[in-house]
Every structure is written in structure tokens, then in C-alpha cells.
């Protein structure tokens, strides 16, 4: 009332700008993540260069330890980068100081593949049941119950994998061949954790398949199983693939389950019965100790983090691509 039109216009503009600022802040978060990881990663690969500077080495005990352990790397510009991607020993926290990240990558891939081997078949079968067979009332109750699995804190799963699943497998299946911390238990439990991701997303796309396609198949005499496997699944393949890639991305980034149940010893192996360390578990391991800002150990944290970021980012991009490429074909 009585408010001048220009005042009102200015206030509206100011509010709009403030809201825009809030939205753009989310982009700033991404930029900050990439910037922090990139800066520290570059600094990590420049450690050999810093270690060649006597004044710097005199001031920093961590560089001193590095130079003593790895005289071969001092001053070698690309040496650390080469070692990072090609060598199979990772011991930056020990006096030997080897920087081959492949054991961490192997541990990550191994546990994630075990998780997928559990989550994809179970999740798909559950999705088929919920979308094709279950009565509506049951579906409405079972789906949220399955989604509870994704809401359980991961430290709880870690506890369960370590204190229940591993002893159970030792007593009844593998005996002492199974290490106290191993890739198998961690992967199995992680698979259950990502199961609702596969089942819920897949069920959504399966229900979006037009009923005419099913009716056509039934009219030709197909059984419910044939309709599910040969009509519904092919028609919703893009969504299913995207769900699986997202589930893989979650498994790669999962931290507490593997930190507790898979172990904290880097191991260049693909034997699921052995102790392995994942990229995320290594990050936890370093964070547990006291790492001074800017030290060699501090920077390994970010180099490992960068690798994790790139891996999961590629997965997310891939799932987006899969959906875009195959979507129109059926719907």
C-alpha cells in the first residue's frame, strides 16, 4: 500500500539476485572440490622437485625422509607420476615410500565388482517381481522397506561385515583361508547396501514400459517369464544400465564398510579372500593419523582423492550418457 512502484521493483530484483546467489553457491562447491584436489595433486607430483631444493629439505622433515628413502626420485620431474600409475607397491606411510597406486585401484575394483555381482542380479530380480508380479498393495509396502537398506549408516554395515559376516564365512565356508579383514565380506555387504539403488531405479523404468508391449507378447502366447526377460528388460535396458553404473559409482566411493571390513593393507591381488585396501580406506587410514598440513603424507591423501573423484565422475557421466543415448528408442 502506498509503496512506490520503483521501490517494489528494486526489492524484487534484490530478492531475485539473492536467490540466484544461493543457487550458484552449489557450483562454487564443485569448483572448490576440483580446485583443492587439483592443487594438492599437482603439489604431490612435484614432491621430487621440492626434494631437490636443499633449503626446503632442511626445513621440512617429511621431505628429508622422502629424499632419504627415494634418492632415485629426487629431482626427477615426471618420476613420481610414472611410478604412481605403473608400480604395484603402495607404501607412502612407511619408510620404504613406494608410490604405485595400483594396489589401491585393484582393491577398489575387486570390492566394487563383488558388490555389483550381488546387487545387480538380486536387484534386477526384485525389480521384476515388484513391477511385473507383486500386487499393488504389497509393492507399496515392500519398496520402501527395501529402500531402508540404503538408509542404514555405512558404519553399521561395516560393523556387521566385520563382526558377523566374516566370522560366519570363516566358520561355515572358507575356514581360516579367509582373512579376518577381506574383500569378500566387505563386497557382499556393500552389495546389499547398493541393492535398493539397482532395484528402485530399475523398477521405475520397468513400470514405464508401455503395457501394449506386454499385451502384444502375451497375445502371442508368451509366459510371464518370457515377457519379463524378452520384452520388459530389453525395453528398459537404458535405465537399468544407468542404475547399475550409478550403483558401481556408489560402491567405488563407499568408505566405512571397506575401511572396517576389507582392511588397511595395500595388496596387489584379485583374490577376494585376502585383505585389500581401497582408495577410500587409504584416505581414512591417513586421516586417522596426525598429518601436518602440506607434508608428503598429507598430499598422498589428495592424490588418492583425485583418483577417486575422476573414477566416480566418469561413472556418473557414463550413466547420464547411457540414458540419453538409448532413451527415445523405446519410450
Amino acid at each position: 500500500m502506498g509503496e512506490r512502484k520503483t521501490d517494489r521493483w528494486i526489492r524484487e530484483r534484490a530478492i531475485g539476485a539473492a536467490l540466484a546467489l544461493c543457487a550458484w553457491l552449489s557450483l562454487a562447491v564443485t569448483v572448490a572440490i576440483v580446485a583443492v584436489l587439483a592443487y594438492e595433486t599437482v603439489e604431490f607430483f612435484r614432491i621430487p622437485v621440492h626434494a631437490a631444493d636443499p633449503q626446503l629439505v632442511a626445513r621440512r622433515p617429511d621431505l628429508q625422509r622422502f629424499a632419504e628413502a627415494r634418492p632415485d626420485l629426487v629431482g626427477d620431474r615426471g618420476g613420481l607420476l610414472r611410478e604412481f600409475f605403473t608400480e604395484t607397491t603402495w607404501s607412502p606411510l612407511f619408510s620404504t615410500k613406494r608410490f604405485g597406486v595400483l594396489p589401491l585401484v585393484a582393491g577398489t575394483i575387486l570390492t566394487s565388482l563383488i558388490a555389483l555381482a550381488v546387487a545387480v542380479p538380486l536387484g534386477l530380480l526384485a525389480a521384476i517381481y515388484l513391477s511385473e508380479f507383486a500386487p499393488e498393495g504389497l509393492r507399496r509396502r515392500v519398496k520402501p522397506a527395501l529402500e531402508l537398506l540404503a538408509g542404514v549408516p555405512t558404519v553399521v554395515y561395516g560393523y556387521f561385515a566385520l563382526t558377523f559376516v566374516t566370522p560366519f564365512l570363516q566358520d561355515h565356508v572358507f575356514g581360516q583361508a579367509l582373512a579376518g579383514q577381506n574383500a569378500l565380506s566387505a563386497g557382499l555387504v556393500m552389495g546389499i547396501m547398493i541393492l535398493p539403488l539397482v532395484s528402485s531405479l530399475s523398477e521405475d523404468v520397468m513400470r514405464a514400459v508401455p503395457a501394449e508391449l506386454r499385451h502384444g507378447a502375451y497375445a502371442l502366447g508368451a509366459t510371464p517369464m518370457e515377457v519379463s526377460l524378452r520384452v520388459v528388460i530389453p525395453a528398459s535396458l537404458s535405465g537399468i544400465a544407468a542404475a547399475c553404473v550409478l550403483a558401481l559409482s556408489r560402491a567405488i566411493g563407499e568408505t566405512m564398510i571397506v575401511a572396517l571390513a576389507a582392511g588397511q593393507t595395500p595388496n596387489w591381488t584379485f583374490n577376494p579372500l585376502e585383505t585389500v585396501e581401497t582408495i577410500t580406506a587409504f584416505i581414512v587410514q591417513v586421516s586417522l593419523g596426525d598429518t601436518p598440513y602440506g607434508s608428503v603424507e598429507y598430499r598422498t591423501l589428495f592424490a588418492a582423492g583425485m583418483l577417486l573423484f575422476v573414477l566416480t565422475f566418469l561413472m556418473n557421466l557414463l550413466s547420464l550418457r547411457v540414458v540419453q543415448r538409448f532413451r527415445e528408442r523405446y519410450l
Binding site: E12, V29, I33, L122, L288, T312
Partner: protein
């Protein structure tokens, strides 16, 4: 082959296919059940391990070298403290960002960038938010390993979740409500403030509570915030060291003495009760207060 034999062969084949279909249905049912059975075993196992330690001292005692003395007092207060500050930062920002994206932003490549970015942020592994917090809040802004640094780190973690949930709630408000208000001469902000937000509020709160419960159960990013240290006191200011419930549980699980695993199990029960309460509230709110258009 005679006609009769061919018919017989056909019937056999049909029976085989129908049997396969029945088996398939049973397998699907079993797969659906398996997840739920697993959840059941987990709950029974944790309850069996933790029940003997579920005593009042669990809430009032600090961490200790002796399992019988160990409790979660500092962890509970730390969780409350961190979750409170995080909520104050993340949720207003999240709702306002959602309002911008739904009500103000015009479709443009820039808006598209924002949307893809938020979806991507929501799937960045949580442990990387810990590295971000360590690099930016703890070191660059010199907050040290404090309640504030931990709360801000978690705020960044739940921000995309809060934005996504709020957007969905705002989108559910029908367009006719906005048109009616515009027709009466309301400005854009008046439409949002007096019409869209009140109608979207139950949905927004449901989403907020769900992201809050995600933050309360989060462990990995807070390990970088030094939350694993021995904290035998209650944090008094935002600059104090702190620990939270999931981290204290992680701490007890990592100890070799199996008695501590039971203390951890009791802590898990505490954590699950807190989460059950939060999720229950969210579901109640969704069922009671959501407007059906």
C-alpha cells in the same frame, strides 16, 4: 512325425515353459525377500550384541579405556551440536536455491549447467567432502579441527540433497495457484512467499528431515575433521574438538578388545533409534500434511 506326435511335443514344450515361468516367479520372490531377510539378520545381530550394554550410563559416560565405563555422552552432544549448526547453514540455502531454480531461473544453458552440477554433487563420494573440508575449512580458513569446520563440511554434503528435495516439493504445487496470485497483481516474490512456499512446506520439511538423517549417519567426511580423537569433554564452543555418534562407534569397532564391539553395538542401537525417530517424523509428515491436489 505324425500330427498327433507333433501336438504332444508342443504340449510338452508348453508345460516346460510354464514350469520355467513358475520357477522364475519363485526366484524373483526369493530375491526380493533376501534383502529384507538380510536387514532382519543385521538388526537381530546388533540387538543381541548391544542389548547388555544398553544402560543409562551409555548416555552419561565419556569414552574410556574400560568397556564397562565407556559411553557416548560427548558423541551425542557432538552430534546434536554439529547437526544443529549444519541445519542452520544448509537448509535455508538449499530451499532458497530450489526456489530460484523452480520459480526464477529461465531455461538456459547456464541453468542447465547448475542442474547437472547439483545432480553430480549429490553423487560425489562423501569422503571427498571430507578432503574439501580439510583443505578449505580446517587449513585455508584456519578453523582447525572444530565443531564449526565439521558442521560446514556436512552442510556442503547435504546441500545438493536439500536442493533436490525442495525442488520436488515446489514442483508439486500446481500452476493454477501461481496464476491465481499473479492475476491478483502479486509480485513474483509475493507469489513464492505467500502461496508456493506454504503449500510446499510439508514436502520441503520431509526432504529436509531425510537429508538430516543422512548427515547424522555420516562418518567418513568427519574423520578428516579430527572427530576420531579421544574427547572426554562436551564441546563448549564451535571452536572445540568434537566427536559424533557414528565416529565414536567406528572408534569402538576398531579397538581389538571384543568387549568394545558390544559397546559399539549398543551405540549402533542408539544411532538407529535416532534415525528411526527422524525418518518416522518424515513419513508422518508426508502422510499427514501433504496436500493432495
Amino acid at each position: 512325425m505324425s500330427v498327433r506326435a507333433a501336438g504332444l511335443e508342443g504340449r510338452r514344450q508348453l508345460e516346460r515353459r510354464e514350469r520355467a515361468a513358475r520357477v522364475f516367479l519363485a526366484v524373483c520372490q526369493a530375491a526380493t525377500l533376501l534383502g529384507l531377510v538380510f536387514l532382519g539378520i543385521l538388526l537381530v545381530d546388533v540387538t543381541r550384541d548391544g542389548a547388555p550394554y544398553l544402560r543409562p550410563e551409555l548416555l552419561t559416560h565419556f569414552p574410556s579405556r574400560f568397556p564397562s565405563q565407556a559411553g557416548y555422552a560427548s558423541a551425542l552432544v557432538g552430534t546434536l551440536y554439529v547437526a544443529g549448526i549444519m541445519s542452520l547453514v544448509a537448509f535455508p540455502l538449499g530451499v532458497l536455491a530450489a526456489v530460484y531454480l523452480e520459480e526464477y531461473a529461465r531455461p538456459s544453458p547456464l541453468t542447465r549447467v547448475l542442474e547437472v552440477n547439483i545432480a553430480n554433487l549429490a553423487s560425489v563420494p562423501s569422503v571427498l567432502y571430507g578432503l574439501l573440508g580439510l583443505g578449505v575449512f580446517v587449513e585455508l580458513f584456519r578453523m582447525g579441527k572444530s565443531v564449526l569446520a565439521g558442521a560446514l563440511t556436512l552442510a556442503l554434503l547435504v546441500l545438493p540433497l536439500a536442493i533436490l528435495a525442495s525442488r520436488e516439493a515446489i514442483r508439486a504445487v500446481p500452476f493454477s495457484v501461481r496464476e491465481a496470485a499473479y492475476a491478483l497483481g502479486a509480485t513474483r516474490w509475493q507469489v513464492v512467499r505467500h502461496h508456493v512456499l506454504p503449500y510446499a512446506a510439508p514436502g520441503i520439511f520431509t526432504g529436509i528431515i531425510l537429508s538430516l538423517s543422512r548427515a547424522v549417519g555420516e562418518t567418513a567426511p568427519l574423520i578428516m575433521m579430527g572427530a576420531l580423537q579421544y574427547v572426554p569433554f562436551l564441546p563448549r564452543s564451535v571452536w572445540d574438538y568434537f566427536t559424533v555418534l557414528p565416529i565414536q562407534i567406528f572408534n569402538y569397532v576398531s579397538l581389538p578388545n571384543p568387549e568394545f564391539h558390544r559397546v559399539a553395538a549398543a551405540g549402533i542401537l542408539l544411532l538407529l533409534v535416532v534415525l528411526l525417530f527422524l525418518n518416522g517424523t518424515a513419513i508422518w509428515l508426508r502422510n499427514r500434511a501433504t496436500i493432495r491436489w
